[in-house]
């Protein structure tokens, strides 16, 4: 800021004013960061919970043709073990259920349509990591906001003293 002719002399050192402004600004940024992180954390938890609620126990199966299925008394050959997956395309399901109540999913259909179903395990793992990260950022944000707030408050008193002293000295 430029001093104009005839204006009263600046009594507060420029770097202190800037320092205080900076501290106040950093406090706001930290508060904002913490708030956004908390909001994202809640959103992630809701999204994860929503995804996980759509996951069901499924068994991928290489299906037999009808005559073979009738002969062998099985819908097809299992591919892998039953696991919780999110399969949104209902056409991928085959009739019947397994011993653990798992639904059969046509592996040929998944391949033909280039579908790689999301696993509940992956959702849980990635969701957990994201939530942990956001909680960490939120914590750092809150701590930083608290620290900058303390600094801001402590800056005010010396600032006032300094102004008085400066005024006295100028006289």
């Amino acid at each position: 800021m430029r001093r104009t002719q005839g204006s009263p002399p600046q009594t507060v050192p420029k770097h202190e004013v800037l320092g205080m402004k900076c501290t106040s600004c950093m406090k706001k940024v930290s508060q904002m960061l913490a708030t956004v992180s908390v909001l994202l954390l809640v959103a992630t938890a809701i999204y994860q919970s929503n995804l996980e609620s759509n996951a069901i126990l499924v068994q991928r199966v290489k299906p037999h043709d009808q005559a073979t299925a009738d002969l062998l008394g099985e819908v097809g050959t299992p591919i892998g073990s039953p696991q919780r997956m999110i399969v949104s395309d209902q056409r991928a399901f085959l009739p019947g259920k397994g011993e653990q109540g798992e639904r059969f999913v046509n592996d040929d259909y998944l391949k033909e349509h280039d579908v790689y179903p999301l696993q509940a395990k992956t959702v849980g793992y990635v969701g957990g990591l994201v939530k942990l990260g956001l909680a960490g950022i939120a914590l750092v944000g809150f701590l930083a906001a608290w620290w900058f707030g303390r600094r801001e408050r402590s800056c005010r008193i010396p600032f006032a003293t300094s102004t008085t002293k400066t005024e006295g000295a100028s006289r």
Binding site: H64, A67, D70, L71, I79, G80, S81, Q83, Y125
Partner: protein, 202 residues
């Protein structure tokens, strides 16, 4: 006289049984329009995700005696065709660090003994060769024998058919696979192998 008749009948029955109890040779694979798939899978259950590698390229032959409930066999699995559902992961699986399929394209299992347990369950011992390393393996196998009938012909099977099912763990380190740090949590140290094959007598 009565004793002689009983002895003759017993001998006839024994010879009839031994005639039935002939070992049959079955070929693994599809022929003559057989529609069933030969399936070999490996399941990895790691922290991040589960994945299954699968191949339908399984060949070999088995002998099986449905009366004496014994048999033997050799099964060859083409690991180079193992598909995990993601092209990049397939490349990694085939690489030198993992299955090294350029050098060792096949895994083989050859039986050394077969012991009938009960029903259609058998305890099979044999040698599993993977990445050029051979280890002894003992596993429980389910063998379903389907004598040729209208139903088997309708299902396009050729002759008599055996369905062989088994699963066993494979500790990768025992076959020289060292999981790199960057893959830890994504690939399990021990994978579960499952085999379901159909063999026909022709």
């Amino acid at each position: 006289m009565k004793f002689k008749t009983v002895a003759t009948l017993a001998m006839l029955a024994a010879s009839f049984t031994s005639a039935l109890a002939q070992k049959q040779t079955f070929k693994i694979g599809n022929a003559g329009g057989m529609k069933v798939a030969q399936v070999f899978t490996v399941d990895s259950d790691a922290d991040f995700e589960n994945f299954t590698g699968q191949t339908h390229d399984v060949t070999g032959s088995v002998t099986f005696d449905p009366s004496a409930k014994t048999g033997s066999g050799k099964i060859v699995i083409n690991l180079a065709s193992l598909d995990t559902g993601i092209a990049l992961r397939n490349e990694h699986m085939r690489s030198e660090m993992w299955m090294d399929t350029e050098k060792f394209p096949n895994a083989t299992f050859e039986t050394t003994s077969v012991r009938h347990l009960k029903g259609d369950k058998y305890e099979v011992s044999g040698k599993l060769t993977l990445r050029g390393v051979t280890r002894n393996l003992k596993t429980q196998v389910t063998v379903r024998y389907l004598k040729e009938s209208e139903s088997t012909r309708k299902a396009m099977f050729m002759g008599n058919v055996v369905q062989i099912k088994t699963e066993f763990p494979i500790k990768l380190a025992e076959f020289g696979v060292k999981i790199p740090d960057m893959a830890k949590g994504k690939v399990a140290d021990t994978v579960k192998a499952r085999l379901t094959v159909f063999a026909y007598s022709g």
